[in-house]
């Protein structure tokens, strides 16, 4: 499979602060890649180096198999976390302008803008001025502007922040579709639940350095299935069972972490003796738990 982005032992510091330290990663075509980390971990700095907004102090960055060059930008769609639009401009003019900057002809840009606006259900806003739109709608416009030129590499920095669930799912589905068509999608986020469902591989960075990287399945398989989710009615006395290392108890719902190599079946028997069990599920740790475990309780995500 073609490697679209490769960072090779890349470092970058600002003033005395190291933003990225000795980071290496690869993003393949047709995959979804999660760049994870708490706020200030160096995610945005990493992305900026990928697309030449800043240059690394040391290490090598290659885009589409070559060192970075301006021409490569036409094949990249970047949605920064800090993003904006021209407030006074009409939506359609704005989309056409941004697409033209990425090399599309005006007519083709207009045609595609039309299609995308219909697809994302904002066609009726195309002739409005941007400042008249709600924040969520502006975000959809930004999303479209990132994709109009059909980039092979799509980079999204916190793409769903501030979106309602319906629209978040709409955009998610769009990204999955694009991935299936062979585009690579890079997600940068601290929202683990989204990444867990969507990404094929991840790189978790903390204070600029990679702490966990690899395929999603492979990473999760490194961890024991030692989490138990129980739904019950009746006494919660079974939570005193010796196999349990720690637990969180809610109303009729408990999330349990077992001691290493503990016997979950014995816990089930004990629980069934004192309470009515409606659900007893043995699961792998969620990415969020892995994340917190890896970067420690410090994560302010």
């Amino acid at each position: 499979m073609e490697t679209l982005v490769e960072l090779d032992h890349v470092s970058k510091s600002y003033e005395a602060k190291a933003a990225v330290r000795d980071l290496s990663l690869k993003i393949e075509a047709g995959s979804m890649f999660g760049l994870l980390g708490p706020n200030g971990a160096g995610k945005t700095s990493t992305i900026r180096m990928m697309i030449g907004i800043t240059l690394p102090d040391s290490g090598k960055v290659s885009l589409f198999g070559k060192p970075f060059g301006d021409a490569a930008l036409k094949r990249v769609g970047y949605l920064p976390e800090e993003r904006g639009l021209y407030k006074k401009m009409k939506v359609i003019d704005q989309l056409v302008f941004l697409a033209e900057l990425r090399g599309l002809g005006a007519l083709e840009a207009k045609r595609r803008a039309q299609l995308w606006c219909e697809k994302l259900q904002i066609a009726e806003s195309m002739d409005k001025r941007t400042e008249e739109l709600s924040k969520g709608m502006q975000q959809k416009i930004q999303f479209i502007s990132t994709l109009l030129h059909d980039p092979e590499l799509i980079i999204m920095d916190e793409p769903f922040s501030g979106l309602d669930p319906v629209n978040a799912v709409l955009l998610q589905d769009t990204l999955v579709e694009l991935k299936k068509q062979g585009n690579a999608v890079l997600f940068s986020t601290h929202r683990m639940d989204q990444v867990e469902k969507l990404c094929d591989s991840i790189c978790l960075i903390d204070r600029g350095a990679p702490v966990l990287a690899g395929g999603m399945r492979e990473i999760k398989s490194r961890y024991e299935r030692n989490r138990v989710i129980v739904q019950f009615e009746g006494s919660d006395a079974f939570l005193k069972h010796p196999a349990i290392e720690e637990y969180k108890s809610y109303v009729g719902h408990a999330e349990i972490k077992l001691k290493p190599h503990a016997d979950a079946q014995d816990l089930l028997k004990t629980a069934a003796a004192t309470a009515t069990i409606t659900k007893f599920e043995l699961v792998e740790p969620s990415l969020e738990e892995i994340f917190i475990e890896t970067v420690g309780g410090r994560a302010d995500a």
Binding site: Y14, T54, E82
Partner: protein, 421 residues
């Protein structure tokens, strides 16, 4: 210029141009400024008519001959009065009558002339109901003086027929050597040309320079500039902005220019003593240099504005910095009289070659006395290079702006950032 840079520059220029030209502000200022100027012109014409001497007056004197001479001098003067009544030799009753006429505003005032035998100068006093204006004072003084001279000349035996000829004012005509041709010229016109450029430059820098700074800041505060930077080089962003906003300014100036040409040829203008642009005394070469130095100055200050806009993070700060933008213009204005007086002195030559001062000072020198051509071309070259350097710098500052959040960078910080990016 690589084709991508050119293409993006033009795209950005087009966007800036269309967004602005379509805006209401553009339409309003394009219409209002000529209307305002026209209004000012009318006001000027009206107040020009007000420039007149005393219309109705009386001369009260003990010397009938002198009174007649003064009346004649008044009538021949630059501001002849409508009616002059003479009371000479005057009685006390006459004086009382005149006083009452002044009080009831029938006449503007009266001139008391009293001669004493043996003395050459009469005692002359102007008495009026209001304070006299400068024109009125000059009117009276010159009439009395020329009457006195006339009387003395006659007394010394000069025939009356020759006296009038001797009393005629001589007029000084000024000519200027331009190249090998003698053209009629005066320093006022050189001043006028330079002031015209100053006003046009000042206004356009204030309006469009600040506009550029604003639009840069707007891109920064709305955070669209990270999107832009990920698609186009900052060089093309800055260059495009400069060309686009510049073209808006030129469009507006062009509209005004056409209006001015129409106006200058119109009947309304001829009542104000203007018959076509030619009568304003502007040569084609001067017009050409006007355009060159206007464009040079405009782009220099606009690029400076873009750099300033890139360095600040909020729109309010643009206002604070507009002073920096204007100060070279202000300095040029202050130095104008010096340059006009000594257009080829070392000081004037050096000033005219310093890019921030070049547009106004060099244009002033060209109007006053054509400097050596090499100096003119050198100044234009230096101006062009400075514009280019400024755009380059603005583009760098803009690019590193992406790394700065919500604070204004200090100069040393910016130099460090330049290294990092």
């Amino acid at each position: 210029m690589p084709s991508a840079l050119l293409r993006n520059t033009l795209l950005i220029a087009k966007r800036e141009y269309l967004e602005r030209v379509r805006s209401k502000v553009f339409r309003i200022t394009t219409l209002l400024v000529p209307l305002g100027m026209g209004g000012l012109g009318m006001l000027g014409a009206l107040s020009g008519k007000k420039l007149e001497g005393v219309q109705n007056l009386a001369i009260v004197s003990n010397n009938a001959e002198l009174a007649q001479e003064v009346k004649a001098a008044l009538d021949e003067g630059a501001f002849p009065p409508k009616q002059v009544e003479i009371f000479a030799p005057a009685t006390d009753a006459d004086e009382t009558l005149v006083k009452s006429q002044v009080a009831s505003h029938q006449i503007g005032g009266y001139l008391m002339l009293e001669t004493t035998p043996g003395e050459t100068q009469p005692d002359s006093t102007w008495i009026s109901g209001s304070s006299i204006n400068l024109v009125g004072k000059a009117q009276m003084e010159s009439a009395v003086r020329s009457a006195m001279i006339r009387e003395q000349l006659v007394a010394k035996g000069v025939p009356a027929s020759q006296v009038s000829g001797l009393m005629k004012e001589s007029k000084l005509e000024t000519k200027q050597l331009k190249g090998s041709a003698v053209v009629s010229s005066d320093s006022e016109r050189s001043f006028l040309g330079a002031y015209g450029l100053i006003i046009v430059l000042y206004a356009s820098v204030l309006i469009y320079g600040i506009n550029i700074a604003r639009s840069v800041v707007e891109e920064k505060t709305s955070r669209i500039f990270e999107v832009l930077l990920s698609t186009a080089s900052s060089d093309s962003l800055m260059l495009g902005k400069l060309l686009g906003v510049g073209a808006v300014g030129l469009t507006q100036m062009g509209i005004w220019g056409v209006l001015l040409v129409f106006y200058a040829g119109s009947a309304m203008a001829s009542t104000q003593g203007i018959h076509g642009l030619g009568s304003l005394g502007i040569t084609k070469a001067e017009l050409g240099f006007f355009v060159i130095f206007f464009l040079g100055g405009f782009y220099l200050y606009s690029a400076l504005a873009a750099a300033l806009g890139s360095a600040v993070s909020a729109e309010q700060e643009v206002q604070q910095f507009s002073f920096i933008l204007i100060s070279p213009l202000v300095v040029s204005v202050v130095l104008l009289p010096y340059v006009l007086g000594n257009p080829n002195s070392t000081g004037a030559v050096v000033l005219s070659l310093l890019p921030p001062f070049t547009p106004i000072i060099m244009y002033m020198r060209i109007c006053a006395q054509m400097p050596p051509l090499w100096q003119v071309w050198l100044s234009i070259l230096l101006l062009g290079l400075t514009v280019w350097a400024m755009v380059w710098l603005a583009a760098r500052i803009y690019r590193i702006g992406v790394l700065m959040y919500g604070k204004r960078a200090t100069l040393p910080e910016m130099i460090r950032w330049l290294r990092y990016s």
